[in-house]
């Protein structure tokens, strides 16, 4: 553990002196260090990749605020956490913007949602064509039998977001099946 820390600090000190190879090695090591932290908090690999890139760019921009005389990891994690919070804030703000009124949701929720006339298996092909997040939610709810609350916990989302995503998926499926 100490060796690894030493490596980080030695690498950034060489990087600050302009050593490009040391800098590339540092960023690679940092990305391996931070990936599990971000992956644990985000549902999808694409989101983790996007945020990882933003975090590395932020580390690049802020590298002058690290002097090599204190542990590197808390510094890098502080930036990763900052970017994660930013990402989540934007993500949930976006969800709120696109949220559906619950009155509208109620009107559109037919009995078929709880007692499906059409089985999941018969439309699984159409489900797979949906966006990844919606398809996963429907699969968990209707094939694996999880409740919206359990799906929310599993995917690191909140329950109402899961319900809204499912509702959107039902609407798309309904349109396709009516054709």
């Amino acid at each position: 553990m100490t060796d690894q820390n030493d490596n980080f600090e030695a690498l950034i000190q060489r990087s600050l002196a302009g050593d490009q190879r040391a800098y590339a090695a540092l960023l690679q090591k940092t990305s391996r260090l931070l990936r599990p932290f971000l992956a644990k908090r985000l549902g999808f690999t694409t989101e983790v990749d996007d945020l990882m890139q933003e975090t590395l760019i932020s580390i690049h921009k802020a590298r002058h605020t690290y002097d090599g005389n204190r542990p590197y990891k808390p510094w890098a994690f502080a930036i990763a956490k900052f970017r994660l919070q930013d990402f989540l804030r934007a993500h949930y703000a976006d969800q709120l913007r696109h949220a559906i009124d619950f009155d509208e949701l109620e009107e559109n929720l037919h009995e078929a949602v709880t007692e499906p006339v059409i089985s999941y298996e018969s439309i699984s092909g159409e489900v797979q064509k949906l966006p990844q997040k919606q398809a996963t939610i429907l699969q968990l709810m209707h094939q694996d039998g999880y409740t919206a609350k359990e799906v929310a916990e599993k995917m690191g989302m909140n329950e109402s977001a899961v319900k809204v995503a499912a509702h959107r998926a039902y609407k798309v499926l309904k349109k396709k099946l009516e054709r």
């Binding site: 990087s15 590395l56 760019i57 590298r63 510094w75």
Partner: protein, 211 residues
């Protein structure tokens, strides 16, 4: 978006030797030095309060000034620490203004208790808040200017602390310049506006220190 390997290669190719930022203690010392010069010039131009020597014999006035100076020092150090992503790994020190404000409130409470019979309120009121705010403008500008060079991950708190630091310079100036002994006036028009300043700082921090 490009993949991680491509990004790392691009960033590594772009990198050149970088001069590390000064230690936050040095940074805050620099700000305090500039503020001391600014305060000295301002008092030299506006003049000391006529009863300054007599005022320095009053223990609660001295305690109030000492606490105000403490707030200025602690908020300067805290603002400098908050300009760094990891608070330079001195989290407790970065949050020290909370303790300093608690001491300050305690001193004001005891000063108010000893103000018996109460000193009559002066004729003016909001002019003091306005004067402090105008006096704090320049320190606020330079503090935010310096802080923007770094990378705050607590930009709202950083903005608030920076603005409180600047406001304390103005408050110090007014206490040394204006001959007012009414503690009720001082609390209402000199120090209560600090609450609003702290809130404005949260907003300014988001506008100016986000990166």
């Amino acid at each position: 978006m490009e993949n991680i390997d491509d990004l790392v290669a691009r960033l590594a190719q772009d990198t050149t030797a970088v001069k590390p930022a000064p230690h936050p203690f040095m940074l805050s010392l620099q700000w305090m030095g500039i503020a001391a010069i600014y305060l000295s010039i301002s008092i030299a131009l506006s003049g000391w309060r006529p009863d300054i020597l007599e005022a320095f014999h009053r223990p609660w006035f001295v305690a109030e000034l000492a606490a105000l100076l403490g707030i200025f020092i602690v908020t300067s150090v805290s603002a400098a620490l908050l300009a760094f992503p990891d608070l330079h790994q001195k989290r407790l020190l970065a949050l020290a203004p909370t303790w300093m404000f608690a001491i300050f409130l305690l001193i004001l409470y005891f000063a108010a208790r000893t103000d018996n019979p109460p000193v009559p309120l002066p004729a003016h009121s909001f002019e003091c808040t306005l004067g402090i705010t105008l006096m704090a403008l320049l320190p606020a500008v330079w503090t935010f200017y310096f802080m923007r060079k770094y990378a705050s991950t607590h930009y709202r708190l950083a903005g608030s602390v920076a603005l409180l630091s600047a406001f304390s310079v103005g408050a110090l100036w007014l206490r040394l310049h204006e001959e007012t002994d009414s503690i009720a006036h001082v609390i209402a028009w000199h120090y209560l506006p600090m609450l609003a300043i702290g809130i404005i700082g949260l907003w300014l921090g988001k506008r100016l220190l986000k990166w």
